[in-house]
Amino acid sequence: MDYSQAMLVFAVLAPGAVFGLLALLWLGGWVPSERVISRITGVTFSACILALVTILWRLAAAGHSSVTVTFGNWFTVHDYHFPLVLLADRLSAPFLGLTVVLAGLIGRFSATYLHRERGFLRFFLLLHLFAFGSLLAFAAGSFDLLVGGWEMVGITSVLLIAFFQQREAPVESALYVFAVYRACDIGLLVGVFAMHRWAGTASFAGGLPALTGSRATLVCLLLLLAAAGKAAQVPFSGWLPRAMEGPTPSSAIFYGAISIHAGAYLLLRVQPMLAQSFLASAIVAAIGVATAIHGTMSGRASADAKTSLAYASLTQVGVVFVEIALGWRAIAVIHILGHATVRTLQFLRSPSMLHDYHMMHSAIGGELSPTGKYLESLFPERAQVWLYRWSLDRGHLDNILDRFAIHPLRRLSKFFARLDSLGTGTR
């Protein structure tokens, strides 16, 4: 293992190791002070940034485009392998950099923001676990390993939404988000299985699994299901405003920056396969367009700052999906990096938004003037009312999901309960 490879392994594993160590010490009865936690976090992510900078510098110096670390197979059964390969290439390196920089910043911000909060240690534990999951997903050299990181991001996301556990609303929201994630992840699991069966591998360290025609289309559509769920694309957008129940720093890094773009990363990873299928590309583009329109409409009707920002994120991610469908990979990556950075800043400033406005008003000696003509005023009045109601109800997506998925399942479950209670006289 050369120096760059060692650095990549360190950058990916360090947050996971810190999580494991802190969790074990807590189970042993030791509760570190806030200062210790924030210093450990700062040192960890600074070291990760340093490691990634070193990798990039050495790659540039050597004229290489990627660094790959192969550990062999995590487990093997007959001719089925779970390859353990880490990869930092032109696509994953920006995402790895974004993750460690923003996680470090969020750690620094949260040390003050969550000062004396009861769940201070819990937040930082989950932040480290999230960073580990994200780094694993972005540095994975195979879809098998990507699934591991992907699901880790999902579970930390859910646990952070339920961070303020004394209130019921965040916990209910977390459950809803978890259900959507799990439902959509079925696409990823089956898609990876299909790659194993048809191409004999799900590794992309040496190029994407060779699939063409209808098989490529089917795999792309399965992965699209997972990507759309993670990126809150239409019709799964209903979970995003609920996810705003979590603390602001976690909303910033999850739904402004990393987690919301994980779906786009997955599609970027399979983009060469996607490009072979007109049908899959068209569906990705259609979902992106629908989401962008839905996001901008619903965001305009949202009453609170975080939800408005979440919908603004959604709009941009929808546009990123369109860019991916059109094959504009470089533009999509640049778009993601720029958007994630700006949106994180906006999320982190959102609790101080009124203060910021007051400062600006004071500075200019009056109120800020409206910026440009509003799009909605171009529509007839009746259409405006209808659109407002449609946007206020967030495109009725929650109602549709309730009516056609949740309620039928609940009714079926209760019917089964009645069947089971036959003969016992109870319900």
Partner: protein, 469 residues
Amino acid sequence: MNLLTAVAIGVPWAAGILTAATRRHARAIGFAAALVSLAASALLLRGAPARESLNEALMVLFASLTLGATLVIPRRDCTPGTMGGILYVLGSTLLAYSTENLVVLLAAWILSTVPFFRAQWFGARAWRPRIGLLLSSIALAMAIAVIAANGHAMSIGGLKGRSPGGMTVFGLLVAAVVFRKGICPAHAWVAEAAEGGPAIPTALLLNGHFGAMLVAKTIVPLFPHIAGEWFPLLSYLALATALYIAIRALTENSPRRLLAYLALSQSACILAGLESGTAEGVTGALVHWFVVTASTMGLFGVLRLLEVRFGENLTASRYLGLAEHAPKLAVFFIVFALALVGLPGTLGFCSQDLLINGTLASHPQTGLLLPIATAMNAVSVFRLFARLFLGKRRTGFTVMADALPRERWILAAGVLFVVLGGLFPNAIVALRSAEAETVEQAMFISRPATADHSRRNAFNTSLPSQHGN
């Protein structure tokens, strides 16, 4: 039966009698007996060849579970009767795992259920569990009687590949599996046993996985021809059970019933994996067996500890906020829960990965039910966690101790097993893979090579071809 096997089985039985006779030091006697049994089982496993160590591995697993149960069982439940019953179940289960004789297997099968019929031991009152266990014993007894009536020997090794008694015996054995394992439509007794009976002994009963053991040890090796033709039906039934129970669990509010449903739904996947006939599926099933056993035991253990602290009438219909009182128990619960439904970082992730691959490869359409059922189970188990541990702290509850050191260490050992197994799965997977090859070979013995090939490639032939668009 060699000396170590006799020690592994005899010591718990002797200790059970001693506990009942002296009626003192129940926990100490139970712990010592389970420890001796575990040590003997571990020595047996060490001496067993890699491809034929399934019985010994299961003995170690069950002895470990019982050892954990003797430590984690709350003082309120640790009566001489309960501890005696637990030791009795341990001895009977190990006898069933270790025997190669059908009559002994039947005896162990029946003996392991006896404590659940006697009110003095486990105090179970519900009628459905008794009927379920009774019917399974009757079906097995009839199957063995038919084999004996046909003049066959009672040795499992001697009957391999001979289909003794034909379809009649095969059907009776499958019926025994269905009743004992709680496959639909015979599933209702499991939830009632969990709700009406003692939590930890019932978890031990369920985690004996006698149904899966009968499949792996008897049905597959004895009936390779019939199994190849009719076994998929049992697999479909198991997958349908997994989905039915997963849907049923979505609205269940009794924590015990809900845990029983989750255990049932997840363990039904073991049968589907065993039937898949693929190396991944069978290995996944065997690894999943270990995961389900460790996690459900941990979950029932934590639930019982909560019940003795906060009252027997815990419910998932409202938020109880118990994490404020017992944060460590909350962490143990969520780790076991995530392992049960195959989240990464746990051994459950590997077993689910293998199971999904195996079942989808052999049954592309029905195999899809497995990830769907698992996703629903994940939602149900997270809902249970949220309702028990999250929400506003209830002032009605007295402030209670979190996990005691005795409980903490044994639960931590369980957590370490599922987490370290998840981080370094190859040791466990490789062992199970070797055993899986034996099971797989038994399934495909005397089967035409073309049939074998088509089964392995069912997915490839059932979906569009590479250039089919």
